[in-house]
């Protein structure tokens, strides 16, 4: 008998939860129910889209880049046929409806960084993002602040993420739109020789795939940025 062979509940074996019904939870249900009752969409359509939203994330994109770093032939495939390469990391851009989601169109391109060109993606118009392979966009990606300013002052905005690029590196800002989605394939950093795909995936963060950070051995988390409200031109003094 071990000293742990006893019958009691350990504290916090279940994660805490909000045991309170919020107005926002109620509002989401109300909008959904009313839309379904009015025939705008069906409960089945909503369930399908919600399941899609629950299973997406940045891991497949990180695997795609790690595979490309390890295998030059796969890198060629990823750049020439990104949809086919996506399938090799478990992402079918036609999921879940057979033609993608209504807001994720199926024209996808991977932008490979070079020693002299750094890519970063934005959607100046709204918040188009390669959701099937990269998950939901971070909050700051949706803000008018990032969208407007990245296009005009890319180096300044990248510096706010802690990314300072030397002048000899050209910054290529790629604007996504309702027809095309993009992601960045950064360069493999130093200090990762001999690493396995899973080890490499750890350092290929969402931010690296957007282009606001560079992968670095030992760095496995995204930058935390304060969301700045946009200054409305109409209100500016």
């Amino acid at each position: 008998m071990t000293d742990h062979d006893h019958d009691h509940d350990h504290e916090r074996t279940v994660a805490p939860m909000v045991d309170e019904i919020t107005d926002f939870e109620v509002l989401e249900i109300a909008l959904r129910e009313l839309c379904i009752e009015k025939g705008i969409f069906t409960a089945e359509e909503h369930r399908l889209m919600t399941e899609f939203a629950e299973q997406i994330g940045p891991t497949p994109a990180a695997h795609l880049v790690a595979k490309a770093w390890l295998d030059p032939e796969f890198k060629k495939l990823a750049l020439a046929e990104p949809m086919t390469a996506s399938k090799e990391v478990g992402v079918d851009w036609l999921h879940p409806t057979g033609w993608g989601t209504p807001s994720d169109f199926t024209a996808f391109q991977i932008l490979a960084d070079t020693p002299t060109v750094h890519n970063v993606i934005v959607c100046a118009l709204c918040s188009c993002y390669p959701r099937p392979i990269l998950g939901n966009s971070p909050e700051w990606y949706r803000t008018p602040n990032y969208r407007r300013r990245l296009v005009r002052w890319p180096r300044q905005v990248l510096a706010e993420f802690g990314l300072y690029l030397p002048d000899e590196i050209t910054v290529h800002v790629q604007d996504s739109n309702q027809k095309h989605r993009f992601m960045v394939m950064p360069l493999r950093p130093e200090g990762t020789d001999g690493w396995t795909e899973d080890q490499l995936v750890e350092i290929i963060t969402r931010d690296c795939l957007i282009g606001v950070a560079l992968p670095k051995a030992g760095v496995t988390t995204n930058v935390i940025t304060a969301t700045r409200p946009a200054i409305h031109p109409g209100n500016a003094g």
């Binding site: 994660a15 805490p16 939860m17 909000v18 045991d19 309170e20 019904i21 919020t22 107005d23 926002f24 939870e25 109620v26 509002l27 989401e28 249900i29 109300a30 909008l31 959904r32 129910e33 009313l34 839309c35 009015k38 705008i40 969409f41 359509e45 909503h46 369930r47 399908l48 889209m49 919600t50 399941e51 899609f52 939203a53 629950e54 409806t97 989601t101 209504p102 807001s103 118009l125 709204c126 918040s127 939901n136 909050e139 949706r142 008018p144 309702q178 969301t227 409200p229 946009a230 409305h232």
Partner: protein
């Protein structure tokens, strides 16, 4: 579009936003549990956008940006996304304000039963 909608103003005033709720209950999830259902709702709406008065993807996002920067500038994300969507649907006449108010009350009653 920027006219205030009473029933939504009441929700804003009660301020049960996720950062407050999460701190109160010791929860660490970065987003509220209804977020993925809201994402599903937005996608399902985008698919239906050919119908009269339903905002398409771009109109929905434009209205969300405008409302999040003005009427709902005190709400965090994704509460501002949700309330802006409700505002758009009421302002466009897709959902009637009185109907929404009644439904909010009946859902709360159901969830608290």
């Amino acid at each position: 579009m920027s006219e205030r909608i009473e029933v939504l103003q009441e929700i804003v005033a009660r301020n049960q936003v996720w950062p407050v709720m999460a701190a109160k209950w010791g929860v660490e999830n970065p987003v509220p549990p209804w977020k993925t259902s809201l994402d599903g709702l937005c996608d399902a709406l985008d698919r239906a956008a050919c119908d009269e008065n339903i905002p398409d993807f771009k109109a929905r996002r434009d209205e969300e940006d405008e409302l999040s920067a003005t009427v709902y500038s005190n709400l965090p994300y994704p509460e501002n996304q949700l309330v802006a969507l409700a505002h758009s649907l009421v302002a466009r006449g897709v959902i009637d304000e009185a109907e929404l108010q009644q439904r909010l009350a009946s859902i709360r009653e159901r969830l608290e039963a």
